[in-house]
Symmetry: none
């Protein structure tokens, strides 16, 4: 039988009106993929008695108990002590962990603070879950191994950047090993260039007929994720069901699917540029650096990303890119003409194979008179220089996110000979 899970988010800040626990969403996604259901979530402050009580209570109901947060070095980080108390185990100082933390500080020419020693205590019997991004190691505790009790408790750090890789790299494989053989096969599409409701209207007639595979649709600006998950006793059966639902969906969505393996648009564009030995530059106005930020978030992007121009003011468009003042006066800065001129100039001035440009009104006010949400995306390549007009819904941040995604997708489609 597959055990249920309970997730405990630790930290008084999670009990303020400004913060929600989002770590549990990531964890839930991965647990579900393993066939594990989350039965309860608890959010508790930095209070030893309440936290200890929460762990005890969770262990009465759940086979898998996952705690996030409270592993820092300060006095209000109480997860280690509370779990140890709830389990009736001691905390053991581990010199090797202490040495590793000290070494981490030394590498940065800094001295470890005395309080960081708190992070070198392990609950008796726990396995260390290494944390490449921070000083707080995680802990994995399998209870009563000899009695085949099967319950496990995990202590994970609170910062998502540390928790996520630890959970996927360390906890998911350990859990998969313990759980009953059940085959889960998944397909995962990332889609851009349409709204969530248009997408749903298009593909619902296909997936609605099935509860297995389960279909989940998740939207963020310019990036809709479609998950199909089949849960069967054999791989063949799961793959057959996935094909039955997934193949027609792929047909319907066509090139709007930009990734079938979870890769981000910037990773994909980077790979396409690298394959072709090509380079790219940017000329950004309304996105203010977001296109470049996405491109350079990929390790090794210096192989194909040359750089670019942030031409927020009209004067910068003229000075840095030589966009004709008369062109701006005639068409306004938010126009296809200016977007094309920006892309072309960025390509010529940097010597890049491709250049993308953005100019638009992100709001809340419109400076050009063009309606807020209107963005022109320009693209210069050896074949031709073009611009497209797009309109995006939402506030300033959403318009900028959509425009950034749109610019990267425009480049993707050009790289694939489809735009």
């Amino acid at each position: 039988m597959t055990p249920d899970a309970e997730i405990i988010a630790v930290g008084s800040e999670m009990l303020t009106s400004q913060r929600v626990d989002t770590n549990s969403l990531f964890i839930t996604d991965h647990l579900n993929a393993l066939g594990v259901e989350v039965r309860r979530k608890v959010i508790v402050g930095d209070d030893r008695a309440l936290l200890t009580d929460a762990v005890r209570h969770a262990l009465e109901h759940a086979g898998i108990v996952i705690l996030t947060g409270g592993l820092g070095p300060t006095e209000d980080d109480l997860t280690r002590e509370s779990v140890a108390e709830a389990l009736g185990r001691t905390l053991v100082f581990r010199q090797d962990l202490c040495d590793a933390i000290e070494e981490r500080f030394r590498r940065r020419q800094r001295k470890m603070a005395e309080i960081n020693k708190r992070q070198a205590y392990l609950i008796d019997g726990a396995e260390v879950l290494p944390n490449p991004s921070g000083t707080a190691v995680g802990q994995w505790i399998a209870l009563n191994e000899e009695q085949e009790d099967g319950r496990v408790v995990m202590l994970l750090p609170g910062p998502p950047g540390e928790m996520k890789p630890m959970f996927t790299d360390q906890c998911v494989p350990r859990l998969a090993q313990r759980l009953p053989a059940q085959v889960i096969r998944a397909r995962f599409y990332r889609v851009t260039g349409m709204t969530e409701s248009d997408l749903d209207q298009l593909i619902a007639p296909v997936y609605k007929k099935y509860t297995n595979p389960a279909t989940t649709i998740l939207a963020s600006p310019g990036d809709i994720q479609v998950h199909l998950r089949a849960r069967c006793s054999t791989a063949e059966e799961a793959e057959r069901l996935l094909a039955e639902v997934g193949d027609p969906i792929e047909e319907l969505l066509g090139e709007r699917i930009f990734s079938k393996n979870g890769d981000s648009l910037e990773a994909l564009v980077g790979a396409l540029l690298r394959e072709r030995g090509a380079t790219v530059a940017v000329a950004e106005s309304c996105t203010g650096g977001m296109v470049a930020e996405r491109l350079t978030s990929i390790a090794g992007s210096s192989d194909y990303f040359i750089g670019g121009f942030l031409v927020y003011s009209n004067k910068m468009k003229q000075d840095a890119l030589g966009v004709d003042a008369a062109l701006i006066a005639e068409h306004t800065a938010v126009s296809g003409e200016v977007a094309r001129a920006m892309a072309e100039a960025a390509r010529v001035r940097t010597g890049a194979t491709y250049a993308v440009s953005t100019t638009g009104e992100a709001g809340p006010e419109s400076a050009s008179g063009v309606p807020v949400g209107t963005v022109y995306l320009g693209l210069a390549s050896p074949e031709r220089t073009q611009a497209v007009r797009v309109t995006f819904p939402g506030d300033r941040l959403r318009v900028r996110l959509f425009a950034t995604q749109g610019a990267l997708d425009y480049l993707r489609r050009r790289l694939l000979g489809r735009a």
Copy 2:
């Protein structure tokens, strides 16, 4: 004594990876204003045994137990039954409630479905909390009134549009009447330029002596938040305690506190530039647009942000900014000399009052030979052009986040005449 509160969000959909409970944030805000702390939040699915257990458990720890959701008409709406069971009370059919629901349907020319009768059951002894926006009435249960036990349980509908008016109009006044007059006052500092453990070592001797105000410390790359919350019977007393702890903390942290009202660094820098009628440009290498993205995330930033240069490659540093190839050859691109030359050129070429630059090794590999995590931040202003060397821990993303925050903070300190 003011009781603590526990909030229980009911609904299996709240345990999926797509949904978070946000009702509790609204409720928390109002409770805090009444001097009530939320000690724990629980999210539980549509499972009668678990829900009953959650209510029982909550009543052991909290004087105020608030449930949201599970008051609908369907079989999986189990809050009424579960709370009744946990309290050992019966459910009583109320003809007047049933009539009101029927009337509601009739007004819309519809017939009440049989299952809606479930919504006409009240827990014995409960007061009705009317719901002008839906068929699910809320319930207010004061326990053991005669023994002055003081504990209360509230059942509120899940849809925020129904829950919010019910809570503010019906529950807040009832709570205010029962609670001792109490106020909460808070201070909130955002700090940069030091690590969480250094900060804690510095200020722990001050705040450790106090449980009131309560101190919470929260860190993200380059941005540490310190919350102080005092809970007292009078505003004067709360302010006095806050000053007792907050004033020495402010003294110790000094200019590393960049905000006392929650404002982000980019909002603050924007306000300082605007005040001075000054403008800013950027020259970004390792941060690849992230400094500009932060600056332009603020509405109206076109008043002070001119634009800039993304000089990722050495050739771009030379072509777009005129950085001397010999300078790069002598010092490498990751050097104070190059950071200064970048900032100076960006300032001259854009005519901006200030220009900030970044050049560093974000990893995972080092191209220049300089250790990964090393970043030079340059700053040009009317007074002088300087650069500082900083080293940041963590992976590519963290180094870039730290460097971005560092660049904005360098500008902030210069704007304040402190760098």
